[in-house]
Symmetry: C2
Subunit: 776 residues, 2 copies
Amino acid sequence: MAQTIDHETNRVAVGKPTRRMDAEEKLTGRARFSGDLSFPGLLHARLVLSPYAHARIVSIDTTAALAIPGVVAVYTADTLKMAKAHESSRSQAPLARDEVFWCGHPVAVVLAESEALAQDGAEAVDVDYDPLPVVIDPLAALQPDSPLTRPRSKDETSEIAGGGTHADVGNTQAEEEEQEELSQNVSDHVHMHTGDIEAGLREADVVVERTYRTHSVHQSYMEPQSITVVPEQTSGHKMRVYASTQGLYNARTDISNALNLPERQILVEPMPIGGAFGGKFGLVEPLAAAVAYAIRKPVRLVYTRQDELLAGNPAPQSVITVKLGAKRDGTLVALQARIILDSGAFPGAAAGLAGYLISSVYRCANTDIRCYEVLTNKVSVGAYRAPDAPQTAFALESTVADLCQEMQIDPIEFRRQNGLRGGDPSGNPRRPTLPPLGLIECLDGIERHPLWKERQKLKEPPVELAGWKIGFGLAVGGWPGGNDVAAAACRLESDGTVSVVVGTVDLTGSDTSLALIAAEAMGVPSSQVNVAHDATDTMPYSGATGGSKTIYSMGPAVMAAARDARQQILQIASDMLEAAVDDLEFKNDSVAVKGVPGKSLSLQKIAQASTSFSRRGPVYGQGRTPVPEGSPMYAAHLARVAVDPDTGEVRVLDYVAAQDVGQAINPPAVEGQIHGGVTQGLGWALFEGLEHDENGQLLTATFMDYALPHSFDVPNITPLLIEVPSGPGPYGAKGVGEPPVIPVAGAIANAISDAVGVRPTEIPITPERLFNALHQ
Amino acid sequence: MAQTIDHETNRVAVGKPTRRMDAEEKLTGRARFSGDLSFPGLLHARLVLSPYAHARIVSIDTTAALAIPGVVAVYTADTLKMAKAHESSRSQAPLARDEVFWCGHPVAVVLAESEALAQDGAEAVDVDYDPLPVVIDPLAALQPDSPLTRPRSKDETSEIAGGGTHADVGNTQAEEEEQEELSQNVSDHVHMHTGDIEAGLREADVVVERTYRTHSVHQSYMEPQSITVVPEQTSGHKMRVYASTQGLYNARTDISNALNLPERQILVEPMPIGGAFGGKFGLVEPLAAAVAYAIRKPVRLVYTRQDELLAGNPAPQSVITVKLGAKRDGTLVALQARIILDSGAFPGAAAGLAGYLISSVYRCANTDIRCYEVLTNKVSVGAYRAPDAPQTAFALESTVADLCQEMQIDPIEFRRQNGLRGGDPSGNPRRPTLPPLGLIECLDGIERHPLWKERQKLKEPPVELAGWKIGFGLAVGGWPGGNDVAAAACRLESDGTVSVVVGTVDLTGSDTSLALIAAEAMGVPSSQVNVAHDATDTMPYSGATGGSKTIYSMGPAVMAAARDARQQILQIASDMLEAAVDDLEFKNDSVAVKGVPGKSLSLQKIAQASTSFSRRGPVYGQGRTPVPEGSPMYAAHLARVAVDPDTGEVRVLDYVAAQDVGQAINPPAVEGQIHGGVTQGLGWALFEGLEHDENGQLLTATFMDYALPHSFDVPNITPLLIEVPSGPGPYGAKGVGEPPVIPVAGAIANAISDAVGVRPTEIPITPERLFNALHQ
C-alpha cells in the first residue's frame, strides 16, 4: 500500500477522505448486533405495557400466560429481585409497582422459548387497573393545583418538586431568591442570571418576546434497544452482557447497581451499534440482567418499534418563552427566558443544561433564565443528539430573527456583532475566557456562499412550484463540547499492521477516525491500522461514545499510544539497523534509514523480532489522557424553503450548513454527520413529534403515525467545514456530532416566516399548524 | 483487608503463602473448559483412528456413517480443505493421506449432532487398508537397512534422514566430521563436543559405560485435548476459538497457517486449562478450525482418554549410552553420550536439547555427545515437563552413581566437586559465564537433611516390610531456564482494586503468583489484585505458558505495569491531597500522607477521580520486558526406597527434593509444583510407559493398562526451597515447573541399586523388570 503524503500539511492520514472500516460488514448484512446473538437455552423477553397513562395496579394474573406451552416465566416488580437502593430511577426499577405512570409503562416481562411465544404470553397477562387522574400537558402539570403525576417515595422528596433540587446560579451579589409557588410535579428548577435583566430591558430600544412549543421526538435509531445477557459462573463473573449501549462501563454500573453485584462480576462485551444518538446510555440493561440472573438462562430483550415509541427515552417536549432586548446599534442587552422541559414520568431532562445552552450563543450583559423540569404522565426522556439544544435554539433563533426584522438589521450582521468569540469571558472560573471557537467563521462561510449571496434572485419559486412562496432562514447554534478521560493501547501485529485497542464502541465511524489518528501519529498509511475493541474487564478505560466527545477525548489517548508504540518500534529498528533513532523514518510499511537506499526493515520483521523469544520487548504502546476542558463548537445554517400558502405544506429546497469542526479527521465522515444531523433537525422542524390524547394515549405509536423525514423530504445539503483548531483535540479536532441538528428548526422556521410572513411558534411545523397560522 | 508487612523482607505479598485464585471455581466444578462450551448448531467431532501402524489407505467409504441420522459430515484428507504449505507437519496435516504412519493416526473426522452420534458415525466409516512393513523399535529404525517409517515428500528430504538436519557443534578446530551411515529414518542428528574425548578417557582412572532405555510417557493432564471453534463473519474475523492451549498466539498461528488465513482473522479466547504439562502447545487446533471453517458451524472436538493415548503427543522414548571417565581425585574428565530419541512418525523430539541437557550438569573438559532423532511407526511426540531431561538425567545420574561407587566417593561430594556453579564458562558467547545457580546449595540442603544424615540408621526396613531391602538414592538435574518477551497492563478498578491484564493462560496457579508480584510492586495486599485475561486481538503480547518461563518472563512485565500504575496513582493522590509524591505511602486500600493521620484517600476514590469526566487521566499502567537470558535452575533429590527382593516390587518410603527457585513467589504453589513434578517423576521411574507390540499396536491404550502412580504410590515428599536469587526474574524468582521431574528416575534407580545391588537400566522399573534383573 503506497503512502501518500499531503505536502501542504505533511500528513499521511488525518484529513484524507477514508472509507469507513465498518461499512462492508454493515452494508452486506454480516454485522451481528446484540439482538442477533443466540445461546443454548436462550429465552426471549417481551414486555407487558400499561394501556393507561396513570392507574393503580389492582392485580396481575399470569395464569393464562404461563399456561401457554413455551412460556417459561413472567416477572413483575414484586417477583423480580432487584436492589431497592435506586428505586426512584426508571431503569433501576423498570417494572411498575402498584401504579403505572404512563401509557407504555412496563408492568411485567414474559420469558418464552421464542419471540412469538413471548408476545403471546405478554398478551395473555391479565392486569386489572384502576385509572387515576392523568397530567399530560407540561403547563398543566406546572400548576400548583395540578394532580400529581405520581406519588413520591420519601427518598424522592429531596429530588423532586417544590422541596426538590434547586440551583440559583448568578454572578450578582447573594440575594433573596423569591419564593415561587411550584407544583409538586416540578422535579428540578434552576435560575441563572447575570447583570440586571430589568435594567437591560429598560435600556433596550427594541424588545421581542415569544413563547414556543416543541414536541417530544424519538431518536429513531435503526436498531432498537437490544440486549442479550448470559449468566455465567466463571472467572468471578455472574454474567456476560451483550448490549446495544453507547457505554460499556455505563451498562456495567447500571447492572451492578440494579443487582447489587460488584461491577467486576459483570462482563460487558463491545458490540456493534445500529444507531444510538444518545438514546442508548442505559435503559433496558438492568431489567434484562435481572431477569437473566433470576432465571439463570440466557435472555434476549429486543424492543419492537412500538415498544420504542411507547417505552423508549425520547427527547423532552418543551415550552420556552424568550424575551430579547437590543439597542438600536444592534447590541443585545437583555436575554430573558423561561424554559419548561417536560420530563415525562421520571426526572432527567437536564433543565440546567437548557439554560446554559440558551445563554451560550450571544454575549449579553443582562440575562435571566429560569428552567423548570416538570413531570407528566408520559414516557420519561433521555438524551438525544445535543440534548435540549434543538429546542432552545429554535426558540432563541426564531426570536433573534424577529428582532433583526423589527430592527431592520442584517441577520448575519447582528449575529456577528453579538455572537460569542474565543477570548470572551466564559463565566467558568477554571477557564475564565472562552477557547478558540468558530461561530463568526461559520457566519462568514454562510455569507460567502452563493445561496446567501444570490438570495434575492432565488426568491423566485421554481416553475414546478408556481404560486409557492420562497423564504430564506438563518440560524446558529452551539454545543459546549464534551470531554472525558480516556486510555488506549497500541500494538504491533505479527503481520506488520498496527492495532489500537479501545473500549469505546464504534458510532458514526469513530473507529475509522481513531485509525486515522493512530496512522498519523505512527506515520503509516491508515490501511495499516486496525481498531480492536475490548471488554470491560480488560479494556483501557474510556467513557461512553457520545456527547460529541469520542474523537475529542479518545483521540489524544490513541495518539499518545501510537506515538509510544512508534518510539518503541524506532528503538528496535535502531538496534537492528545499527542507526540512530533520529536517522530513521517510517516509509509505508517499513522503517528506513534516511537517505540510505535499501537499508530498511519491514514492520512485519520488527514485529517478529520483538515477540516470540526475542531479546527485545514487544511493541505495546499506551496512552492516557485527561482532556481537561471541552472545546465549544458552533454551526450556522441557511435554509431556502418553499411554502404552499394554500395548504401550509413546506418543502426545503436548499440547505447550507457551516460548522466549525476544528479539524476534519475524516472529511466525508464529518460531512456525513452534518447530513445526518440536518436531516434529524428537519424531523424536529417539520415532521416528528410524539402526540398524545388527553388521556395520555400515544397517537403516534408506529412509524405510520410518527413521521420521520423520507429521503424525498431531504434537500441537497451542502456542508461547509470550517476549521478553527481546538487546543486539546487531536490535530485540532472538535466534536462534530451534536451541532448539525441544533440550528435546523430555527433556520426552517425563519425561512417560513421569511416566505409567508407568519412566525411559526410550534414544531413540528406540520401543514395543519402552518395552515392554521396562515388563516388565523 | 489489613495488610501485613514482613519486617524482615519488608514485603507485603511476595513470599507469602497465598490461596490460589482459581481454586474455588475449579474445586466446586464451576470452571467451564473448552469442551464445556455450547453454541447453537454445535456439532461434535470424533476421529476415525487407524488400527494399523503402517498401511496404505485403499479406500474410505463414508456411506454407512452418513446414513446415520444426526451424522452431518465426514471429512478426510482429500475432502477437508487445508493449506498444503506445511503438509509435513502433523498438526498442519492432521488426517492421513494415502498412508497411515501409526496405530492411532487419524484417517477421518465425523461431525454429528451429539458426541454419541459422532462416535457411532466414526465406527461406521469403512476404511480399507493395505498393511505395510512397520518399524517400532528406535534401534531397529536406526539400522541403515531399516524399512522406511513413511515415504517422504520432496520438501521433507531436506528435513529428514541422512540428508537431513545436521549440526556439528564444538569448540575444537574445524575438523572433518566422519560420515556415519544413517538410516533414512533419522530425522535429525547433532554432534556436540568439547576438548578431546579420547584423551579424556585415557586420562581417566575409572571409566563407567552403560546403556539405558526409557519409554514414551504421556502427560496425562486431567482435561483432554479440547477445542470449540465458532465460525464468525464479523469484525474482520473468520472464527472464534476456545482451545485448551498453553499459548493463545501459538493456536492462532497454527490455525492461520493451516487455513491460509491472516492471523488477525482468527480470534483465540483465553480459557481455563485442566492441565497441560507441555502437551498443549498445538495439536488439534488446525483440524478443528478447518472442520468448523468448512462446515460453517460451531464444532467441538474433545479427545477421549483413548484418543489421548493413541493420538496425543507424549514424551519420546529413548536409548542413551553414557560413558564417564574420572580421575582418582574425583575430577570428571570425560563425558561421552549417544542419545537416541524416538520421535514417532513425525520429527519433534529435539535431539539437540537432549545433548545440551546432558552436558549442562557437570563441568567436564572433554565431552562428546551424539544425538539422533529417529522416526518409527508410533505416535509422534511433543513436549512434556522438562522435555528430554528426565531421560538424560536418568542415564547420567545412574552412571554417576556407579562411578562414585566404583571410586568409593561420596555421591554428594563428587557432585559438589564437579557440579556447575555460577561463574563457570557457559559456552554461550553472548553470556560467557553462567549466572548464579544453586546446584551446590541444593546438595548442601540434602546433606543437612535428616534423611541423609541418618541414612545408615534408616537402612533398616520398617517392621511391616520385614525382609525388604532399603536403599538411598541421590540424583540431581537441571533445566537451562526459558525466557520470553512479555507485556502486561495494569488498571485501577472502580472498586479500588487493581487488575493486571495478561495474555498468558493460568497454569499451576500462575495467575496467583502474578497477582502477588503486582501486589508487591503496587504496595497493596494481594487480595486487592485481580488478574484479567485478554484474547489475541487485544491482549498485551505474551508467549505461551510453559517452559518454566511464565512467572520469570511475565512477572517483570506485570511488575513494570504495576509500578507504572502505582506512579500514576501517586501522582493523582499527590494532586488531590496536595502533598508531594515522596510524602505519600500506600496503606491497605488507601494512599496516605506519611505521618499525617487521617490524611488519606481510598483507592476507590482515586479511581473515581481518575475516570468518568474527571480532569485526571485514568490509571492505566503498562509494562513490557525483554528478559534477555534464562536463569538455570537445579534440583537435588534424595529417595529412600524399599525393594522386595522376592517380587521386584518397589515402594518409595521417603523423598526429599531440594530445588533452587530463586525466590518462591507463592511458597505453597512452588511446593505444589515440586510435589507434582516428583509424582510425575515417580511415574517415569516406576509405572508409566506406552508399550507397543511388534506390529505397533498400543498395549496401554487405557488408564487400566497405562499405569499412573496412585496416591498410595506417592510417599511423603519434602520440598526444600533453596533461594539463590536470579538477576532478571521478578524479586529474584526462577522457573520452578520443570526441575522437580528431572532427577526422580535417577534417584529411584540409584536407591534401588543401593538396596539390592542391581543397576536398573530401563524405566519404568516395573516389578517384572526388576525381578528379572535380580534373578538374571
